[in-house]
Symmetry: D2
Subunit: 123 residues, 4 copies
């Protein structure tokens, strides 16, 4: 496990730090939204791979080695998510706030409690 760098304090700080990182390497040319979406999907699949042969219970009680790998994959996912949001000029926290409002309307607690269906499958 690597030493923790000075911990970033916000998504906004991460966004700016990533811009620098990419500019220093002249990597903007590779970071089209299309390519970043692919990279994001690949990182998610690396997370899925950790869990594919585990039971749900096992996935909730990872040993230290697997937990460290999961943490590294989550970091990669956040990095690409922040990059693509920056390229598309999307404010992630605003988008999540709006989505939470929509989900509260689509899935009223009294109606969906304890059931996992898509909003158009509830009767």
């Amino acid at each position: 496990m690597s030493p923790v760098q000075t911990r970033l304090e916000s998504l906004e700080q991460l966004r700016l730090r990533l811009r620098e990182f990419v500019a220093e390497r002249d990597w903007e040319q590779f970071h089209s939204p299309k390519n970043l979406a692919m990279a994001l999907a690949v990182e998610c699949a690396e997370l899925v791979e950790l869990f594919q042969w585990l039971t749900e219970e096992q996935s909730a009680g990872l040993d230290a080695g697997r937990r460290a790998r999961a943490e590294a994959e989550l970091a990669d996912i956040l990095v690409y998510l922040v990059r693509i949001a920056d390229r598309l000029d999307v404010d992630l926290l605003e988008a999540a706030s709006r989505k939470l409002g929509e989900n509260s309307r689509k899935y009223p607690a009294a109606r969906v409690r304890g059931k996992a269906l898509k909003y158009d499958e509830y009767d």
Copy 2:
């Protein structure tokens, strides 16, 4: 486009709001890390779908309709990412800080400038 809810101010606030949302619906039972990783991968693929037949240039200049759909997908991805990190007790900003430190060492700017290879492919 839905009205913006009061904008969340941090990942930490989003994490706590999502805990409430899930608890009110008794959905913890479905939110094993395994299932959440699957859900996260599905949301990423919905983002990929927006771009799959576009050129890279087109992906960087979305019309308003596609941009709104991209924003909604990015929100879904962030929501599941924060949920799974919470279930695994991972601090996302700390994990990203550590990862940035590792990437700075693996990809020195002078060595990788303008090249898109994996760190073990540079000569």
Copy 3:
């Protein structure tokens, strides 16, 4: 459920029929290996979505509606898989034959029986 067309009899027949389908629509221009890989990943995610909130047991006993959706997704996956193999000039059955040989060597039955690890994790 749609009526079954005359059933294709081999992967080779499917490959040729897909070539025609694409040529009639002038869609070769969209079918770069890069784009087809994205489309394939999207179809796989649609399959994953069917299972994400089900237990493993439930996934093995789908009701008729979900089973029909799974069948349609499997068809989509096969279609894109055959298309990308054709674009890359890969013989799928030959590639699978070779892979089975490799897997027999990497995972000797006596060593891995009843265990789900990657080949470099067995001691």
Copy 4:
């Protein structure tokens, strides 16, 4: 590159050979449709990874090393696709035949020539 095994001659032969392979290793217990769908998505992402920083043109002209990796990934995808179809009792060639019929109706050549839209986006 490994030597080619005796080449399998059909999907049906591959299906039966995989059943044996899994039974010899007592791996049926891991092969729920849910888990197989995850494994399939992971293999697709490994294919996507090969292409993520390439242009579409580069993806159509792979060097020998990348082409061999693509071939191996395509084989993995076919293997898991045949396994999950077997578990769900789906005849892949029949499903693809039906899907081709549906796609011919949804995308009449005269209407969609040269355009890459979803069927509900054509005017």
